[in-house]
Symmetry: C2
Subunit: 162 residues, 2 copies
């Protein structure tokens, strides 16, 4: 069964050759979603949300997909692919939660997005407080690595040695 | 540009003809993701997470996609499609945050999923506390409708008149 999608736009980031592992609230350069003309009217009221989900096609990976991964920052721990946020997935759909800064015509300006410049955009969804923000969520196996501080550095985008 | 994906499994729910609008923490019937054999080893460690993201292909809709939508519970408010969680989207990728109850072989048992039985599964991702749970998220335009209570009923899956 083939499921075929088409980009609704393109993501612009300062990352031409290297992207961070997770979204970074960064002021280094611009991050914005550029929407195709036929979809621009669908952006109405989007700017009433603090956060949005950005869904995109991870198109720059050529390595083979493996069902076990070793997250680079987690030491020698091997976990199942679906227990990870690795971009190398059977269906390489990227998902990021970012702050919406401004909607300006066909451009949706956001905080840092961990993708290459030119990444095909698939969808934008509002992130709605009760539906999406789970106060009792946990860190799963990440907690076992004792490296929550490392994860936090990634999340905050603070440069650090590996 | 065509982007082609293939299901990694199928979603089982009690909803054969009618599905709720948003995930419901329901005990009425079973909700589980059935994973294809070649992907089962990718489920390792998934059960260390409280919540997961489920991504799926919304395959049962035949109505036309419109860039403006009137959410059924929001009265006569018209909002942009991307400011809504309407299933009628240019790329009908569904996204739900659900509680993971148990992983049993090739089955991932979850709390309520607002999809039809047989929906093609595209991806599973761990929902990681700091990355995905935004305490300062808001309700966007939903707040303006004064109908937060209604939204809450949907979220809690409490039956109510429209």
């Amino acid at each position: 069964m083939d499921i075929t999608y088409h980009p609704i736009g393109v993501i612009h980031t300062p990352y031409l050759e290297k992207a961070p592992y997770q979204p970074v609230e960064s002021d280094e350069g611009e991050f914005y979603l550029e929407i195709l003309p036929e979809y621009v009217s669908g952006l109405k009221d989007l700017d009433s949300f603090q956060y949005i989900y950005v869904l995109y096609h991870i198109d720059r990976l050529t390595r083979e997909v493996s069902m076990k991964v070793e997250p680079i920052w987690a030491g020698e721990i091997e976990v199942g692919l679906f227990a990870s946020r690795s971009p190398l997935r059977p269906n390489p759909i990227g998902l990021s939660v970012v702050k919406l800064l401004r909607v300006d015509g066909n451009r949706v300006k956001t905080t840092g997005l961990d993708v290459f410049d030119g990444t095909p955009l698939l969808d934008i969804k509002p992130y709605i407080k009760d539906l999406d923000s789970k106060a009792d969520a946990n860190y799963g196996w990440v907690e076992k690595t004792g490296d929550l501080r490392h994860l936090a550095l990634h999340i905050l985008g603070i440069p650090h040695a590996y």
